[in-house]
């Protein structure tokens, strides 16, 4: 008799392996993963470089913007790998997982880890450009960088999963992501730092988990007092990111918990609330 835990670990393992295998098998996805952020970084970065000066530092805009683009890579990868859940659940591989012996929580964990790993792989590709952005790979605080990006990727992937499962149609999913997640990135300090003259903006940033990920990435690349980093320190950044990842995973598990994998049956299969 196989134990429940073994089935759950097996489910996590299958989904995780599957996402990574798929990613590395598609050259177009690899090229897109590198090409799109590079273009974004160079075009927006050069456009802003003429007008933007980081107060009190000699850092050029391309260098300032680079950690923000790393997070953009993670964010977009998390969005685009979890949207597949919608199709996959009704007419794809996830059907077999739903009917398999693993729990829903294991399904959430496996898919989130898979998406997060794809996001990290894409970020790793973009990090090959560290020297071009003026950072020395030898001076990067790698443990901080990897843990911050991993936690952010896991949280964003789980959040993407929760939205995908609850919304259950592709257009709705993208609409929500464009109004929820993309603005999170815009006000994360990725493009410009919070200015003391705008307390509302600063407060929004402090409540935004992506801001802590950008901040930790800045500290990992440029030291504890990196320009644009949030007040506090790397421990605060990582602590907030860990809480965010845990909360997002909890939310995704909650979304997927209800019995139902078929479109028709899903909405109305809660247990009876009143005795017959």
């Amino acid at each position: 008799m196989t134990s429940p835990l073994r089935y759950d670990l097996a489910t996590v393992d299958v989904l995780w392996r599957r996402d990574l295998t798929r990613f590395f098998r598609q050259p177009s996805r690899l090229a897109g993963a590198l090409g799109q952020p590079v273009i974004f970084w160079l075009v927006i970065g050069s456009g802003m470089a003429a007008t933007f000066r980081m107060p009190g530092s000699g850092v050029g805009y391309l260098q300032f913007f680079y950690p923000g683009v790393v997070l953009m890579v993670v964010l977009f990868a998390a969005i685009f790998t979890t949207v597949s859940v919608i199709e996959d659940r009704h007419a794809g591989f996830l059907q077999a997982v739903l009917a398999g012996p693993g729990s829903r929580a294991a399904l959430v964990a496996g898919k989130s880890l898979g998406s997060a790993s794809v996001a990290l792989s894409q970020a790793a590709l973009f990090l090959l450009l560290l020297p071009a952005a003026g950072f020395s790979p030898l001076q990067v605080r790698w443990p901080l960088l990897v843990s911050a990006l991993a936690l952010a990727a896991l949280g964003l992937a789980a959040l993407g999963f929760a939205v995908a499962w609850a919304v259950d149609n592709v257009q709705g999913y993208h609409a929500i992501q464009m109004t929820l997640l993309v603005p999170l990135w815009v006000v994360s300090g990725a493009m410009f730092p919070a200015s003391p003259e705008h307390p509302v903006f600063a407060a929004v940033m402090r409540a935004n988990p992506v801001a802590y990920a950008v901040s930790a990435t800045r500290r990992a690349l440029s030291g504890p007092d990196a320009p644009g980093a949030l007040p506090g320190g790397p421990a605060v950044d990582l602590g907030v990111l860990a809480l965010f990842a845990a909360a997002a995973l909890g939310l995704a598990a909650l979304a997927a918990r209800r019995r139902g994998g078929t479109r028709g049956a899903w909405a109305r299969c809660s247990p009876r609330s009143t005795p017959a």
Binding site: T2, R18, R22, R25, A91, F93, Q95
Partner: protein, 324 residues
């Protein structure tokens, strides 16, 4: 009325592998399943026959743990199991109507991942994948992405994936929908072989009479209930004699006319009139002479099929969609 339960069973008969009792499922105000009961014996191929919309897919979702009914119970080898219980899921092999393979991965990878889901040890999974690919005639396509396989090959691969962990019950939702005649035969040969060699119990949904013929026993489903549960032969025997089919423009009008003139039970099904009658061939010349030339597109006589039996029992055609 639960035909499956009222079926006499001798004391020595083995306990049913799977039994469902009084399943009720509502979708909003609509009752999709209205107290559905059946028993499936070990090693049996049990078909649920009904048109689209009869509630077959809901039943499939309940058996595979994807939906929970309002009330009712399931028993696995006589022991009660909760809906969607892990103990039940671990013993099922499931083939969905929609594809559930990863088209980007190879045939072999799909099988190995399918085995891993059920915690089959890796070496055993590889050996089993090779054997199943061989059996499905896909050994030389093992390293190709599923996207490059034909529809029939994919269906055989779905079947192989569903049994890679050696389940005791195979559950299939319309296993041959959209397949051509050759793929239909190949799929059914594979299902029969699994039952013969591994002693699998098979439960399937279908609306195809030719697929229903492959089953040991059929549950005829209409409006959320099982209205008959018998062997295909017994069901067909409910239709007296032959079936005369007249294709014509105004089928329902013609059915009324035929019924009136010949005092026969004539039913309009789609754009044809169906008449059940002993010695059907003697009716044909009388029909043809009674109506002006051009009124019929064709007239034919045949032995009854399960589609005719379904019509006889439920008063509806299998091809029609049941109104919600």
């Amino acid at each position: 009325m639960t035909p499956a339960l009222s079926r006499p069973r001798s004391a020595s008969a083995p306990a049913p592998r799977l039994a469902a009792r009084a399943l009720v499922f509502r979708h909003g105000a609509r009752e999709v399943l209205r107290g559905l009961s059946f028993e499936v014996a070990p090693g049996e191929i049990f078909g649920v026959l009904g048109p689209n919309g009869a509630g077959k897919s809901t039943l499939f979702s309940i058996l595979t743990g994807l939906a929970a009914p309002e009330s009712g119970e399931l028993r696995l080898d006589a022991a009660r199991v909760a809906f969607g219980a892990r103990a039940l899921r671990a013993r099922l092999g499931v083939v969905f109507q929609d594809p559930s393979l990863d088209a980007k991965l190879t045939a072999e990878e799909n099988l190995v991942l399918g085995a891993a889901l059920f915690a089959v040890p890796r070496a055993e999974a590889r050996a089993r994948a090779r054997a199943l690919l061989e059996r499905a005639g896909l050994a030389d396509r093992a390293r190709e992405p599923v996207a490059r396989l034909s529809g029939g090959m994919r269906r055989r691969l779905e079947l192989a994936r569903a049994v890679i962990h050696r389940p005791s019950i195979l559950v299939l939702d319309e296993p041959t929908s959209g397949l051509d005649a050759a793929s239909f035969r190949a799929t059914w040969e594979a299902i029969q072989a699994l039952r013969r060699e591994d002693g699998l119990t098979v439960i399937l949904n279908t609306h195809r009479p030719d697929e229903a013929e492959q089953c040991d026993r059929l549950a005829v489903m209409a409006e959320g209930r099982i209205v008959a549960c018998e062997t295909p032969d017994a069901l067909r025997a409910r239709v007296a004699g032959d079936v005369v089919v007249v294709e014509a423009e105004d089928a329902s009008g013609l059915a009324r006319e035929v019924a009136l003139r010949f005092q026969l039970p004539a039913r309009a099904v789609g754009d044809a009139v169906v008449i059940e009658r002993e010695e059907g061939h003697t009716l044909v010349p009388r029909l043809v002479e009674a109506f002006p030339p051009g009124r019929f597109r064709s007239v034919s006589v045949r032995r009854p099929t399960l589609a005719d039996a379904f019509l006889e029992i439920t008063g509806r055609g299998l091809e029609t969609e049941e109104a919600p």
